[in-house]
Symmetry: C2
Subunit: 338 residues, 2 copies
């Protein structure tokens, strides 16, 4: 627990992949709660690739405003109310929501902060990973759009990532054959040996994702959980089975470009396969989060699913960790212990 | 009624748009029905852009085999049984199905021919247009995937074509604001003045479809009935409204290429708009054809919808007419009177 408020500020708008020099850690005094406000001590900060999008100029949308240069970087936190001058919040209560990459946050109850009740039988940080937005993205994307049936071939991109690992584990629980794509042979081995999926494709290997799909999905793909768009999406569209479902959940290949990347050429196959492609953002399912959390928690307690997380200590390391994530350094959810 | 069997043979595989020289009309004697067979006099031949696809080498799929050089060109016909040595078929009965571009066809009941009962209050040729595969493509694509609501902005590409004109008219009946894309100012005028849609975009005009969408769909698109893929699809994805639905019904821009055309770059917008894109082929809905035909026939009798067709006389002109269709020459359904 720092006696200063460490905060990461956006120093420059990233061009392409974010760079360490785009972020800057500043120290400030711990803020004081004014009338109607409460002070949150941030216990964990969630790192989410999707937030890269809102670092671009003019990227504000109905989901959130664009981040401004010099301002603290917007992020999701899990924290504890330390002091309250708001009658709805009491010191000691746990809260989650969107504040910034910082040690302490002020809130007044009109912002994107909600109280949470943690199940003591699961690790608290899991509420940012398996039981948080990324785990729930996998859960609702797979259940609502993917509708995997036992025996289906389910392909997951960025399979070792925060969303991907949960999608992989869930599809295995549901009786599917699961193939994941990732960026190194070492992560391929981890996916098969540790996470327990059926096959993994290193898209950087010779022949790329196309060769990997030819080898590991020779009969095509029933469900594709897309976290990257770009070439992986295109190659997969060409191999869709009849009635295939594609969850368009992320476009990692697009975050790091000023221009949108080349799109999928194989749209004709989408027609002949009568495939469904659907854009998905988990925030639409807020009212159903309890359902997803209950199921994922049950699987966690039963030992059927793992909360795969990588914990990094210190708010000052948040910017660097975020950049590492885009270089494919993490396995599972990347969480900062503040 | 010819005393010869005129047949159009595939002389060469089209490269890009089909060319008149890719087809050849040959004369043969009228075939004789053998045991178990029946002879069909083809009254009308349907011209369908989608069949271009199966003129490519190795294009055979679960839907139909690739056409072979030198063989008669596969096509949909509406005809009358002239002579039958098959106990299930009687001379005088009407039949529809897939044979070839020819004056007479032989069938044996194990092929893609079905009996039909025509409603005498509608023109017989409408069963190849408004009430045929193209009209039903518009009907089921719009109803099942597009789900247009009154007030929705519905965009239709190749709006003056066989599928497009029906999609436009239906969306108007359903209370939508309808914008169509087409290939000439003259067809734009026809779409607005004669077909009664709200605005039309000539995609060949300066600024292309993007400028037209900025002008005529300034608030975005709720439903896009896509018959072309390519740039029109891409520009539309960039302008999808929240919860938009895209019917991927044709890929005209793809038929005339050896390589698939550049795909849509704006897949990220599909995610943030939570849009649905679904591939659609009307042949999956065969069991529901009566429902679609009943509704479209009712609208036709009530004067709410037109059977827009262009009739060309003589089997010998089938190849030329098919080529003209790819040059944007037709309005509505192109039908050969055999």
């Amino acid at each position: 627990m720092s006696d200063k408020n460490l905060r990461i500020h956006l120093r420059a708008r990233p061009v392409g992949n974010p760079n360490e020099s785009d972020f800057e850690c500043r120290e400030a005094p711990i803020p004081q709660a004014g009338e109607g406000q409460f002070l949150i001590q941030n216990l964990y900060i969630s790192l989410d690739a999707g937030f890269r999008q809102w670092m671009n100029e003019g990227s504000g949308d109905e989901y959130m405003p664009a981040m401004e240069i010099g301002a603290p970087v917007t992020g999701l936190i899990l924290g504890k109310v330390l002091e309250s001058k708001n009658s709805d919040y009491t010191a000691g209560e746990l809260v989650m929501g969107r504040t910034a990459w910082e040690s302490y946050s002020l809130a007044d109850g009109t912002d994107y902060i909600t109280k949470m009740v943690a199940d003591p039988s699961v690790p608290l940080s899991a509420y940012l990973g398996l039981l948080g937005a990324t785990g729930l993205t996998a859960y609702f994307g797979l259940v609502d759009i993917g509708k995997p049936q036992p025996g289906d071939t389910v392909l997951v991109s960025t399979a070792a990532g925060a969303v991907g690992n949960v999608a992989c584990q869930m599809a295995k629980i549901l009786g599917c054959r699961v193939v994941g794509t990732t960026s190194s042979d070492e992560k391929c081995r981890w996916l098969v040996d540790e996470l327990g999926i059926d096959a993994a494709i290193n898209y950087k290997a010779p022949g790329g994702v196309a060769a990997g799909l030819d080898e590991h999905c020779p009969d095509g793909v029933d469900v594709y959980f897309d976290n990257v768009a770009g070439d992986t999406l295109d190659q997969t569209l060409a191999r869709l089975k009849q009635g295939a479902r594609v969850i368009l959940s992320g476009a990692l290949a697009a975050y790091d470009r000023v221009e949108p990347p080349p799109g999928p050429r194989n749209m004709f196959k989408v027609i002949t396969a009568r495939a469904l492609l659907q854009g998905f953002m988990v925030t639409d399912q807020v009212e159903r989060y309890p359902e997803g959390i209950a199921q994922l928690s049950a699987w966690l307690r039963e030992g059927k699913i793992k909360n795969v997380e990588q914990m990094i200590h210190g708010v000052e390391n948040t910017g660097d960790a975020f950049c590492q994530m885009f270089r494919g350094g993490n396995r599972g959810k990347l969480v900062i212990e503040a």
